[in-house]
Symmetry: D2
Subunit: 139 residues, 4 copies
C-alpha cells in the first residue's frame, strides 16, 4: 500500500507551478496509474482557435509523471509519442489517464488517453516511456 505516497503526489501536483499555470486538476493516483483533468479554455487556444497541441500533451504528461512515480522510485521521462484524434470541443472538460502496461527494473511504459469527460470522445493517445532511476522518492 502506497496511499501515503499517492496522496503526497496528488498534493504536489496541485501545487506544481506548471500545473497551476494550465489549471491541471489531478483526479486520481494509484499504483501505476493516474488521471488528470483540464478544461479546454480560451487560454489554451492556438493561432487557429483550437486547443493547442502542447496543452493536450501537457495534460497527458502530468498523468504520465504521476503514474510513473507512483511506485515510490524516482522516474524520469525518456520519450513520448502522441497521436491526435479529434480537436476537443471549446470549453469541454478533458481527462487524461495514464496506465502502466510494462515495467522492468530500469524502464516502464504507459498508455495514455485523453477523452472529453462528457462525451467520452477520444482526443489524443500517447505511448510514454520512463527511466526508473532506482532512487527512492523523498519529498
Amino acid at each position: 500500500m502506497k496511499t501515503g505516497l499517492h496522496h503526497e503526489l496528488k498534493r504536489r501536483s496541485l501545487e506544481e507551478p506548471y500545473g497551476r499555470l494550465l489549471d491541471l486538476a489531478v483526479w486520481e493516483v494509484g499504483e501505476g496509474t493516474a488521471a488528470v483533468r483540464m478544461r479546454a479554455t480560451e487560454d489554451l487556444k492556438n493561432i487557429f482557435g483550437s486547443t493547442h497541441g502542447g496543452a493536450l500533451f501537457s495534460l497527458i504528461d502530468e498523468a504520465f509523471q504521476l503514474a510513473s512515480n507512483s511506485h515510490g522510485i524516482l522516474a524520469v521521462a525518456l520519450s513520448v509519442s502522441i497521436t491526435y484524434g479529434a480537436a476537443p470541443t471549446a470549453g469541454s472538460l478533458l481527462e487524461a489517464r495514464a496506465t502502466e502496461i510494462h515495467k522492468t527494473k530500469r524502464t516502464s511504459t504507459y498508455l495514455c488517453e485523453v477523452q472529453e469527460v462528457e462525451t467520452r470522445r477520444l482526443v489524443a493517445t500517447a505511448q510514454a516511456l520512463a527511466y526508473r532511476t532506482g532512487k527512492t522518492i523523498e519529498f
Copy 2:
C-alpha cells in the same frame, strides 16, 4: 515569396493565447522552418523542480505549428514523438527549431530540436508529422 504570410504567422503566434500563457517568443518563420524561444522559468517547473516536459513539448509544438503552416496550406498535427535529453538549466533561454525533412501533397514531416541558447546543449528532440488539408490559410 511568402514573406507576407510568414510575417502574419509570427504576429499571430505572438498574440496566441497559449503562447502568451507560456511566454513563447517566435524568433523566425521561413519556408518549412520556424524557431521559437522560451525561458525555463519557475512557472514551468514540475513536482521535482525541473522544467515540465509539457512545457518543452509546447515550445517544440509551436515551432512545428508555424513551420507546417508556412507554405500557406492549412496543416494540422497528426503525431509527434519527443525524446528528452538533458534537463535545462533553471532560468536558461531555450530555442526550439522545426525543420521540414519531407513533404508530400497530404503530409509533411519535421525534425525539431530544443537547445539552450547560451550553451547549445540539446534538451530534447522530436519528429513531427502534419496532415496538409489542402485548404489555403485565410486569417
Copy 3:
C-alpha cells in the same frame, strides 16, 4: 459484415512475399483488429543473439496493415512508435495484436502489442497511425 474481405486479407497475408520470408502466420482479421503470429527462431537473431528489433516490428506491422485495411478502404502507414519491453525467449511463439482505438475519415490509430503466447509476457508495444486514402480495396 465484411467476412469476405477479412478472409481475403488473411489469404493475401499468407501469400505475401515478406510474410513468407519471416514465416508470419495471420491468426485473425476482424473489423479494426488483427492478430499475427511468428516464432522467435534462430533466423531472426541479431548480432547479440537476441530476436532482431526489425523482426518484432515486422510482426506488429503485419497486424497493423491488416487491421487498418479491415474496413475495406485502402489505408497506408504514416507513422509507428514502438517501445521494447523484454527480449523474447529463444524459440518462443509470439503474437502481435493490433486494435483500433480511433478512426476518422482520413486517419486511424492502433494500439499494438506483442506477447509470448505461452507466458503472456509483453515483448513490445506500439502505437500506429494510418492514412485512409478513401479508395475501396480491390484485389
Copy 4:
C-alpha cells in the same frame, strides 16, 4: 580510435542471421554512426505490392543497432518512432543512415533516414532511443 571494434561490428552484421534473411549490407560503421543498404526486392513486398514497412524499419534498425553500439558499450533499443515518406521504387537500392544526436551515460538518441541511393529520395525517417547498459561489448 575504435576501428577494431567498428570492423568487428561490420563483420558481425554481415554474418547476422536476420541481416542475411533480408540481405542487409552494412556500408559503414563509425563513432556514433552507421549506414546499411538493402535492395527493394520482390521478396520484401506486402499484400499491396509495395515494400513492407517492416523491411524498411529493419533496415533502419540495423543501422541504429550498429551506431548505438559503436562506442564499445553494449546498448539496447528502448523505442523507435518511424515516419514513412514515399514508397520506394521497385528494385531500387536503399540506404539507411543512423546519426547520433545525443548521448548521456545511460541513453543515446539517433536520427535515422532511409533514402533511395540513386535518386536521394527520402523513403522514411526515424528517431531511435537506446539504453546504454554500461557493459563493455565482448564478442
